[in-house]
Symmetry: C2
C-alpha cells in the first residue's frame, strides 16, 4: 500500500491518470542502490524472469545437443509478438528435439503484433500455441525435458523435473526460498513464484554480472545475454520496448517485460539489476518506470537521448494528433542520481 506515484499520463493541460509503483536497483552483492516504494512485498515476476527460466536449457546440455543458436536462445527468453519469424524459430526448436507443435501446452492466442494477427486471419489461418508469446519459453522447456530424459507431456507442472530445476535456479540466484503458498499459475500455465522486488533485482544483477555464480551458470547466463543482444527482435518483436532498447544498447542492457506491470533489467557493465512493479499492472507505466530508472543509472548524454522517447512517450489519437503523453514524476525523475 501507499507506493508513490511514479508515472503521470497527461492529456491537454491536466494529469488524466496516475500510476503508482516500486523500483529496486540492487548490485551483485545484494546492496540496494535505489529503492522507491515497498520493495519487500512479494511480486509475481511473471514473464520478466524468462531469461532466468532459460538457464536450465543451457545447463542441462539441451541447447548444445539440439544445436540452438542465438535466435533460438533469444526466443526462449522472449515474450514475442507471434510474427512469422518468431513462429518459425519456435517450430525449429521443437523440430530439433523431434517434437511437433502439438507438444506445446501454453495455450493458443492470436499474435500480439497486430499486423501479424491481421495477416494470419487474411491468410485463412487461426491462432495456435506457436503464436502464444510464450511459445519460445515452452519450446525451451520441452528441449530441456528431452535432454533430461523427463516426461514431455507434463513439463509445465510444478512437480516436473524441469520446473523443479527452474525453481532451484531462481532460489539460488535470488537468495530466497520459494514456498508452495506463494506459487500461482501463470498465463501460460507454468508456475510463477512471488518474491520481493529487491530479490528479483539482485537475481538480475547476478545474472548480468556472473558474480558469485558457478562457472557453468555464469557461462550460461553470458550466452543468454549475448543471444538477446545479438537477436533482440526475437525477445519481443517489431516496435516493442524490449527489442528497441536492446537494439540501441546491445550487450550493455538486457530488459525483459512481464505481465501485470513487472519489468526487469540487467546492466552488466555497472553490475546492477533492476526490478520494477507498477501497482495497477499497466505495462505502459512499467516501461516508463524502467526507462526513467535506466536513465538515472546511465548518465551519459547520448544514452539519455536514446532513452528519451521511452521516458516521455507521446500519445496520439486515431487521427495521429498528439493529445498528450506519459512522464515520470520527480520521485523517479530522470535527472541523474
Amino acid at each position: 500500500m501507499g507506493n508513490p506515484v511514479l508515472v503521470e499520463v497527461v492529456r491537454g493541460t491536466l494529469v488524466e491518470s496516475r500510476h503508482c509503483g516500486a523500483v529496486a536497483v540492487v548490485d551483485a552483492d545484494g546492496r540496494g542502490v535505489l529503492m522507491l516504494g515497498d520493495v519487500e512485498r512479494p511480486v509475481y515476476p511473471r514473464s520478466a524472469i524468462k531469461p532466468l527460466q532459460a538457464l536450465p536449457l543451457i545447463e542441462s546440455g539441451a541447447a548444445d545437443r539440439f544445436g540452438l543458436g542465438a535466435e533460438e536462445l533469444a526466443l526462449a527468453c522472449a515474450s514475442h509478438g507471434g510474427e512469422v519469424g518468431h513462429v518459425e524459430t519456435a517450430t525449429r526448436m521443437l523440430a530439433g528435439a523431434g517434437l511437433d507443435p502439438s507438444a506445446l501446452k501454453c495455450g493458443a492466442h492470436w499474435p500480439i503484433h497486430q499486423p501479424s494477427a491481421q495477416a494470419l486471419a487474411r491468410s485463412g489461418g487461426y491462432a495456435t500455441p506457436l503464436h502464444n508469446n510464450c511459445s519460445g519459453k515452452h519450446a525451451g522447456f520441452l528441449c530441456t525435458a528431452c535432454a533430461m530424459g523427463a516426461d514431455r507431456a507434463s513439463y509445465f507442472e510444478p512437480a516436473h523435473p524441469v520446473q523443479r530445476e527452474v525453481k532451484a535456479t531462481l532460489e539460488s540466484l535470488a537468495g530466497v526460498a520459494l514456498a508452495q503458498d506463494i506459487c500461482a499459475v501463470d498465463g501460460c500455465s507454468v508456475p510463477t513464484w512471488a518474491m520481493p522486488l529487491s530479490r528479483l533485482a539482485h537475481a538480475f544483477a547476478r545474472f548480468g554480472s556472473g558474480q558469485d555464480l558457478a562457472p557453468a551458470r555464469a557461462k550460461a547466463a553470458a550466452r543468454l545475454r549475448a543471444a538477446s543482444a545479438e537477436k533482440p527482435w526475437h525477445v519481443a518483436g517489431t516496435g516493442r520496448f524490449c527489442t528497441e532498447i536492446m537494439q540501441a544498447f546491445g550487450a550493455r542492457l538486457l530488459v525483459k517485460t512481464g505481465a501485470e506491470g513487472v519489468h526487469c533489467a540487467a546492466l552488466p557493465e555497472q553490475g546492477l539489476g533492476v526490478a520494477v512493479k507498477c501497482d495497477d499492472g499497466a505495462g505502459r507505466a512499467a516501461e516508463v518506470m524502467m526507462a526513467a530508472t535506466i536513465a538515472r543509472l546511465l548518465p551519459d548524454a547520448r544514452d539519455r537521448a536514446a532513452l528519451e522517447r521511452f521516458v516521455r512517450p507521446t500519445l496520439r489519437n486515431w487521427n495521429g494528433i498528439e493529445v498528450g503523453g506519459l512522464r515520470p514524476t520527480d520521485v523517479i525523475g530522470s535527472d541523474g542520481v
Copy 2:
C-alpha cells in the same frame, strides 16, 4: 492524490495488482449519496458522456428529420465493437442525411471486437472510420450539423455549432462552466472537457430522472434512455459490460464506459447518477468499481445475483484455467449501504 484502493486483482493466494479510484453517487438535487476519494478533482469524461453528447441530435430535430430509430440512437450513445451490425447502423445514419462514410472524421481503427476484426481481415477488408468505436457518435454529430445547416467538414472542432451546443448542454446538465483551459482532444478528435466526478454524477442523475430539465430536454433524454434499453447491443456489443448490464436491467439502468477508467451510470428509478474514475485508467477496474457501486444501490438479492459476475470477475489463462480474479475492497464493498 491518495485515493483509496477500490479494486484488487488476486492471483493464487496473493494480491497481484491494486487499483485506486474515486466514486460519486449524486441525486438529481445534486446531493451526494456516496462519495469515495477525491470527487472534486477535474476528470476528462471521455466516451462516458456520449449519451449526454447525443441530446442535440434529438433537440435539433435531426433524429426526427432523418428518421432515426432505437438502433441509430443507441449507436449515437455507443462505444461499439465495430461488429457488422454496428457498421451497418452507422452507414444507415449517414445515408439518411445524404452522406457517405468519408464524412466521418473520427479516424480508423480495427474493430474492438476481436472476432469481428479477424473476420474483417479474413474477408480482405481493412479498418475504416466506420469501425471506429465512436462512429455512431460522429454520425450523430453529422446528422445534427445537417439539421442545423452547419458546415459538415469541421463538425468535430470546438468552435463548430454542434460542439458548442454539446458544450452548452453539458454545462447546463452538470451545473458547471467549461473553460477552454480544461478542454483536451479526445481519441476521436472531438473536444473533451474536464469536470469533477460529483458534477458528472449530477448530470447523469438529471439525465436519468429528467428532474428540472426543460420539457424538450427531458423528453430527449427519455428517448435516448429508451433506445439504449431497447438496443443495448448497439451501445457496446457482444460480451461487453455495458451491453450485458443493460440487457439484464433494461430501463432501470443506463451504464456507459469511457477511456482511461471513467464510467458513468443513471438509475432513473432511484433518481441517482454515478460517476467513477479509476486513477490509473484501467477499464477492468472501473467496471468492478461501477458494478460494486450499483450493487450497493440495488440491495435486492436478485439484482445483486445478476451483478455478481461483474463485481467479482474471474481471470482465466490461455488454457482456460482459473488463475485468479478481481474483487472490490471493503472501501467500496458490495454488502449494502
